[in-house]
Symmetry: C2
Subunit: 233 residues, 2 copies
DNA sequence: TCCCAGATTTAGGCTAGGTTAATCTTGGGA
DNA sequence: TCCCAAGATTAACCTAGCCTAAATCTGGGA
């Protein structure tokens, strides 16, 4: 016997690996050992060891020296964690007054401790939301996630209107900064310029008067947007 | 480095031991190894091992072959866990529609995962309650617990009025059964009889018409009551 | 007082999950 | 084609917590 109180049947560590691999797969599959190591802040050999255990449990497929891919059951388990994380974040912001920049760490711990029942009760109390406070889609109970067709602000063509749809929840400072600009999920703006050589993007935020704001390239890459129909003169 | 995400600085297992020892101390101190082993469903030698670690961390004082006592810092940590547990139970019943018989296990996991901040937000949202759903007093943030002067129903004199004040949260079946009798914390009743040789206690519950109910000795010992002033003819 | 039953501790082992140091693989550039 | 740097794996080791079996302490009754 071992480890943690189980709410999914997997150890806390296993849950962390699966979620990390799931998230890394959206940026390319198979997922490399080093990518997992970096995401979880763990030494690469530790990842090799865990990957072996995960693949013995049929949660991932491992091709030595190449990387891992989630199996169906691995993906199911990962999506369960993602759902938990996003519902907890939404609950904390909507019902307990947390700011969007401070929910991540709390959710990171709670996602391992809550039961399915509690998650469904939270979801119910929230009216079964589709997106978390950072705009990320919440997987359904049976593991369906909406595919979003988003463009980083850094790639939105100059002259078009766009709406901020999603930001990573990982960096509180970044989130606080974005909020301080008046940017949050759902806000529309016009892209009025972009400097070459990874220069800043300039956007025009609505208001009276409208406010122009320069946004560094790094940050612009983190802001996932919808390009809106109908350009602006 | 090791183990669990920390919200108190102690491992999950350490938190469990401290809380168990705290609760056992209310029934007599020092607390024996075997009592801890039974409470945590762990083999006695494992407890010996952990007790050594706890006393090296100055959380308990251990007298070999005699038992352990919490130190001040051990008691502080234990009370923090008790506060967490009871606030979580209260929150789940009041805000998420849980029944009093189903909150224990959920709280048992969550108490290790919530931050102090979340607990204080929950307490705030509840209006800083003094008692949990089973009538147990909630320690304050700085570790003060109300001393309650209660009598098990099995010891309440025949002929007096009493009010149910507290029931252990551990046995869901017991809690469901009590509720099915119309008994919950705060309900007053008259003790109208008690059979010798660990026989049942009979109580008269208010209502129209009043309902008499026989309660087995074991159960009666688990129901902590206030004896009310003013006897009944 | 002595002895034994029951409680406790020690000894020895196991697993999960982490570490560092050393050894392989792999693929891209000369 | 060859070689080497980067990335992955293996080897060896550590700790927390658990286990069972064996040894040891303690206290109550004859």
């Amino acid at each position: 016997m071992s480890a943690d109180a189980k709410t999914t049947g997997y150890s806390r560590s296993t849950e962390d690996y699966l979620k990390a691999i799931y998230e890394l797969e959206t940026q390319g599959s198979p997922v490399q050992t080093s990518a997992i190591a970096e995401a979880l802040e763990i030494a690469p050999p530790s990842v090799s060891g865990m990957v072996k255990r995960l693949s013995e449990s049929d949660l991932v497929e491992h091709v030595p020296y190449r990387g891992v891919r989630l199996t169906d059951s691995g993906r199911r388990a990962a999506l369960r964690m993602v759902r938990r994380h996003r519902i907890v974040e939404t609950y904390l912001t909507q019902k307990l007054g947390y700011d969007w920049d401070s929910v991540h760490d709390e959710a990171e711990r709670l996602e391992h401790a809550v039961s399915d029942e509690l998650i469904e009760r939270m979801a119910m109390a929230l009216g079964n939301p589709q997106y978390d406070p950072h705009g990320a889609p919440i997987p359904t109970k049976d593991g369906a996630v909406e595919e979003q067709d988003l463009l980083p602000l850094s790639d939105v063509p100059v002259g078009s209107m766009a709406e901020l749809r999603m930001v990573s929840d990982r960096d509180p400072d970044l989130l606080r900064y974005i909020a301080s600009l008046g940017l949050k999920v759902g806000v529309a703006f016009e892209v009025i310029g972009r400097q070459p050589f990874k220069g800043p993007v300039t956007i025009r935020l609505p208001g009276t008067p409208p406010k122009d704001q320069a946004i560094g390239h790094e940050l612009a890459r983190a802001l996932q947007c919808w390009e809106l129909e109908g350009e602006v003169g």
